[in-house]
Amino acid sequence: MTTRLHPTQEVDPGAPAIEVRDLHKSFGDNDVLTGIDFHVDAGQVVCVIGPSGSGKSTLLRCVNRLEEPTSGQVLIEGIDITDPETELDAVRSRIGMVFQQFNLFSHMTVLRNLTIAQQRAKKRSRKEAEEVARRNLDRVGLSDKIDAYPAHLSGGQQQRVAIARALSMDPDMMLFDEPTSALDPELVGDVLDVMKTLAGEGMTMMVVTHEMGFAREVGDKLVFMADGVICEEGDPREVLGNPREPRTQEFLSKVL
């Protein structure tokens, strides 16, 4: 792929995968994000936790501009995607995203779910797209569901297909928006296993989650958000085991 992401800016291999500078986001009078600065380095797994309404999902959705930031900058591999000149679709195809509600295309088979964007956005041939799709379905352990429709899969299977769909674009990084929150408890493990494998392979990941076990075990950095700001961040074992801020302590005492 040689699509230019921006007429003048170049991908900078030394830059963080994701860098957010003084990000603000308001919905009308409601200030959801009030000055976020943070970054995810290439190969890092960063988990974002916090009470509901703290803005963590909004922050994640600003990273691929599904949500339009009110002010501030979001840089992906050194390219400012809040700049109107940026080829947003081309940048997005380098950022995989996994949603809480899976959002598989319900009128398409699993295979078509995995090939449609490869063909339309990455201009791959049907044959190549199907090869990539089969490889990624195999990665998530669902090769036998290739011709199934999403409605016939369990929530856990749908989420693994959604991960395979994002992976089929060969993204440089993956965003996860509470990927296990809509799942029955017994199905959470399969999805977390896939994510752990992915992390082990060196994928850059930003994960909004309530799974403290995953954050402790897999995360390189933990970010605690509250009331639209980053309250505390650092090594997951440190933040979870020995939180400095009272707000963090209060939250963790409720969820752990």
């Binding site: 679709d89 195809s93 509600q101």
Partner: protein
């Protein structure tokens, strides 16, 4: 009644309702003038000697006009929907104004405008003569209703579907064409079929337009056979037309009911 059990009471009520129903039928049969009904609504010659005209001209044209108006209306409705979704506000205003205008006007007035008003005012005559003009009128009206239906279908597609497609790097056009529209159209098939049934009945409004013999649809044909032909002076031709309308519309409404049941099951 005190000695009856609950079930016995229910039986007694049901029994008397059946009895009342039978009584009403018998009463109608005794009181009605069956000869007058037969002679006015079911004159045999009105069927035996005109059925070829009714089926091969009247019903054929009713179906043909419906299909033309539906296809034309659908295409126009899609244009209106895209305008409603346009990023530029004036397009949205124009589409909204159009929809409000044509939903607020009687279809008959629009047909008269197209068939008589526009040709007089601009000297423009649409292809197909007065019938073509009337069909344009039907298209304009049905497009307004279909546009609203399709827009509702698009809004019924979960927002997450668009977000997933956009997050994969698909642009707005491809997302609409391959992800949103196919799901929206599946949702609107039952209401659009209803629209089709309404359009079948509305083709009868074209009777206000003068038609050549081979252009007549069912209503025009029925009216003309009331004043001439084998059943002249009776309403037999209206009965015939009514039965043929039902033969077309009833299967379609059954299909709609089936589609809706199937859709509710799959959710």
């Amino acid at each position: 009644m005190g000695s009856l059990t609950r079930t016995q009471r229910q039986r007694a009520v049901q029994f008397s309702l059946y009895g009342l129903f039978v009584l009403l039928i018998v009463l109608f049969w005794v009181v009605s003038d069956k000869e007058a009904i037969r002679a006015n609504f079911f004159l045999a010659e009105g069927f035996t000697e005109t059925w070829q005209d009714f089926v091969f001209i009247g019903a054929k044209n009713t179906i043909l006009y419906t299909v033309i108006a539906f296809v034309g209306g659908f295409v126009l409705a899609m244009v209106l929907v895209l305008m409603k979704l346009a990023p530029v506000a004036p397009f949205r205003w124009l589409a909204t104004a159009y929809i409000e205008l044509f939903r607020g006007l009687p279809a008959l007035v629009v047909i008269l405008f197209m068939a008589f008003g526009v040709p007089i005012a601009f000297g423009w005559r649409p292809p197909g003569g007065p019938v073509g003009a009337g069909l344009v009128g039907l298209m304009l009206v049905s497009a307004a209703y279909m546009a609203e239906t399709i827009r509702a279908g698009i809004e019924a597609v979960p927002k997450g579907q668009t977000e997933a497609a956009r997050s994969l790097g698909m642009n707005g056009g491809w997302t609409m064409a391959t992800v949103v529209m196919p799901q929206a159209l599946r949702i609107v098939i039952p209401p659009l079929t209803n629209e089709l049934v309404i359009l079948i009945k509305d083709t009868s409004l074209l009777f206000v337009i003068g038609m050549a013999a081979n252009e007549k649809e069912l209503t025009t044909m029925a009216r003309d056979f009331m004043s001439s032909g084998p059943s002249a002076g009776t309403a037999t031709s209206l009965t015939f037309a009514a039965l043929l309308y039902l033969a077309i519309t009833l299967p379609l409404t059954r299909v709609v009911a089936w589609l809706e049941r199937r859709q509710n099951r799959s959710r």
